[in-house]
């Protein structure tokens, strides 16, 4: 693993000059992923902020081959690129080792792109899918998605006189990916470059489908000061709102366990999308959010401590090890 000094000396594969907001976390994800992946990489992006800010014709921020086709199909599109690679290698027409990476926001991954993602993962393509998860449809103006947390104010689940933001908990896409029995699934965060880059490096060293869900604070949609992007990412990890963990061939490893688990309130308090929760009559929502976070964290700890007999783990990535309690 290169250190930060070495990484900073590399040729930028995702350049500056793009049109992202000040403090945008999505472009940090792209830059750090490419710093590890290197130039022999094909990137496919779903429609969304990352694609929009980085490819306004005739300009591009991508110094690697890049394709955007539509919103819901980044996984299917990269699987076609990878299929051609396999075909050409088999025909002896191509020798270079290449990385195939798809980026999608949470809207393009959790919601509209879930079918295409599931299909590509099940088919076992040698691809890495990176979800830059900012917990809402930010590109179209902060609409709620399946990744939006309970209590958040969005433009399609707004805070009004009766409703207090999103009423449902977010779905757990990382676990849905684990359920595909693929060899590598991980959660990472903007604000911990070492965690993200080491996970990308590990993922790219594994043959087969890989998925990394990167928690990405969005200053526009979350409404906070732009300089807080990385802090908000790290705080979410310290509060166990977004645990950093990996699932390698079905075995869980939590990469970081906070010595003292922070309460969610401090994190919520820095963001405009949770502003309404400061009112005393909404305190019960904070309690519900805390309860949801606590339960997920406990579930994760149990999964990590479960013992999987090695013979039940399919090294090729197929099949889910049975739960042993």
């Amino acid at each position: 693993m290169a250190n930060v000094k070495e990484l900073s000396k590399q040729k930028e594969l995702f350049t500056g000059g793009h049109r992202a907001c000040a403090g945008c976390g999505a472009v940090i994800v792209a830059r750090q992923v490419l710093a590890v992946a290197g130039p022999d990489t094909v990137v496919v992006s779903a429609t969304g902020c990352l694609e929009v800010v980085s490819t306004i014709f005739p300009y591009t921020a991508w110094n690697v081959s890049f394709l955007h086709s539509a919103f819901e199909n980044a996984a299917a599109t990269i699987s076609g690129v990878e299929a051609l690679y396999k075909s050409w290698v088999r025909q002896g027409k191509y020798k270079k080792k290449m990385n195939f990476i798809a980026f999608g926001g949470d809207g393009g991954t959790y919601d509209i792109g879930l079918q295409s993602l599931s299909g590509a993962m099940e088919r076992g393509h040698n691809i890495l899918y990176v979800c830059y998860n900012n917990e809402a449809y930010m590109n179209t103006g902060v609409q709620r998605s399946g990744a939006t947390p309970k209590g958040a104010d969005t433009t399609t689940a707004p805070v009004g006189k009766v409703k207090k933001g999103k009423e449902q908990y977010r779905k757990n896409l990382t676990e849905i990916m684990v359920a595909h029995g693929i060899p590598y699934v991980a959660q990472s965060v903007v604000g911990n470059w070492r965690d993200l880059t080491s996970k990308v490096e590990k993922a790219l060293s594994i043959e087969g489908p890989k998925f990394i869900n990167v928690f990405q604070p969005c200053r526009l949609g979350w409404s906070y000061k732009p300089e807080l992007t990385c802090d908000l990412g790290r705080m979410a990890v310290d509060a166990c709102i977004w645990p950093l963990y990996e699932v390698v061939n079905g075995s869980y490893k939590i990469n970081y366990k906070p010595k003292e688990k922070k309460a969610v309130g401090d994190w919520l308090g820095l963001q405009g999308r949770f502003r309404h929760l400061a009112k005393p009559e909404n305190k019960h929502i904070i309690d519900e959010i805390q309860a949801g976070v606590d339960k997920s964290w406990e579930d994760l700890l149990k999964k990590e401590s479960a013992i999987f007999p090695p013979e039940t783990v399919d090294k090729r990535g197929g099949g889910i090890p049975p739960q042993v309690s």
Binding site: F57, T60, F66, L67, S69, G80, W88, Q115, E122
Partner: protein
């Protein structure tokens, strides 16, 4: 002439055979009646190692076209097959494939669109995507389907436009016919190797494809696409010329069947053209000068050429195997009338919408269309939109 093997094959089998001989780099497909067999047969070729193709058995037609787009943009020769709802589900991606100028070849087995759900032939699916920027080539029978698939590769890659080859669901796709199959080597020679321009798998020269195109560039790119479609007419004729030189069979933008001295003619696409020719022959035997214009290439629409071919015919009827549900007429009639108008030809043209959902089209039905045309010539009948063979 090169050696041919005369075999009995269905339309689906003939298409799969052409695909085996073409040996594309990637095929991504999803099952749908009546096109399923094409990819099923092709998958068996992959399983037996008869092709170099990477077959991607995707989870939907949307993903099929998405994977084709990825593979084609990456530099590969790419094909797929579908029908009806599958083509409809692909529609978003069809526009993107043509906008990115990717020469994907798609075999569409024409089938009606829901609802009500129906698995049989009409042209609603292909017509639904008629403005998607894909070249559209219709086939009359299994032989044409085979020949068209082989030509489509050359056409798509030369024109820089994706190409749909259609066959009529069940009528052609499942009908067993006599088909002449060429030798593998001759087909491979004809289609040649795909020329690589800019492609994703070339890290020495990274490209960005599918960029955000705003008010300052989008229009120019769409204009280029429109121009490519205009220019593809010559590409299609060139491919037909090379095909005739190599394999002996003639193709054009359309087929004029006994039109030279005809006083009445039917314009039709797909398998019904065969039935119409039989009826025209019967009428000719009775001294009636009947002809058929079988449109092969619906996109690009051969506007001037069709007007020229129809201008001296007293009475012309169009047979449309789909409807626009617009309070106007079927898609083929609308385009032909516009073509004639632009060539300053005034003609009353009845449109006969027929065969929806696989409704049988019999020689008697086509006979009645010619009969109506005869009455028009005599000044008795009036042109109108008729739903042929329906219970009103």
């Amino acid at each position: 002439m090169p050696k041919t093997d005369i075999v009995a094959k269905t339309g689906n089998e003939a298409i799969a055979e052409a695909m085996r001989q073409i040996n594309p780099d990637v095929v991504a497909a999803y099952p749908i009646t009546p096109a399923t067999e094409i990819v099923q047969i092709f998958a068996s070729y992959v399983a037996d190692g008869l092709v170099d193709t990477e077959f991607v058995p995707v989870e939907s037609e949307h993903s099929a076209m998405s994977a084709c787009i990825g593979a084609s943009a990456a530099g590969g020769r790419t094909m797929t097959g579908t029908s009806s709802q599958g083509l409809a589900l692909m529609a978003e991606m069809l526009y993107i494939a043509s906008g990115l100028r990717l020469p994907i070849v798609l075999a569409d087995v024409n089938r009606s669109l829901s609802s009500p759900i129906n698995i049989h032939c009409d042209h609603s699916d292909t017509m639904m995507v008629r403005d998607s920027g894909w070249i559209q080539i219709f086939s009359e029978n299994a032989q044409e389907a085979y020949d068209n698939m082989i030509q489509a590769v050359k056409i798509a890659e030369t024109a820089g436009l994706p190409t749909i080859v259609t066959t009529d669901g069940f009528i052609i796709s499942h009908g067993m016919e006599r088909v002449e199959i060429f030798e593998d080597k001759d087909v491979k020679d004809f289609v040649g190797k795909k020329k690589l321009g800019n492609y994703l798998l070339n890290p020495e020269k990274p490209i960005t494809l599918g960029a955000l195109d705003l008010q300052d560039y989008y229009f120019e790119h769409r204009r280029q696409l429109a121009e490519a479609m205009v220019e593809s007419k010559a590409v299609i004729l060139d491919a037909a010329k090379s095909f005739k030189e190599k394999f002996g069979r003639s193709y054009g933008l359309f087929e004029s069947y006994k039109l030279d001295d005809a006083d009445r003619a039917i314009v039709v696409m797909g398998s019904t053209a065969g039935t119409a020719k039989v009826v025209a022959d019967d009428l000719r035997a009775k001294g009636i000068k009947a002809g058929v214009l079988k449109l092969r290439v619906f996109r690009p629409f051969p506007k001037k050429e069709m007007a020229e071919a129809l201008k001296n015919i007293k009475a012309v009827a169009v047979m449309d195997r789909s409807d626009t549900i617009s309070g106007n007429e079927g898609p083929l009639a609308l385009e032909i009338k516009a073509a004639l108008f632009d060539s300053n030809i005034k003609k009353d043209i009845p449109d006969h919408i027929y065969g929806l959902g696989g409704r049988e089209i019999r020689v008697e039905d086509i006979g009645s269309v010619y009969k109506d045309l005869g009455e028009m010539i005599e000044g008795k009948g009036k042109p109108k939109v008729t739903y042929l063979g329906v219970r009103e």
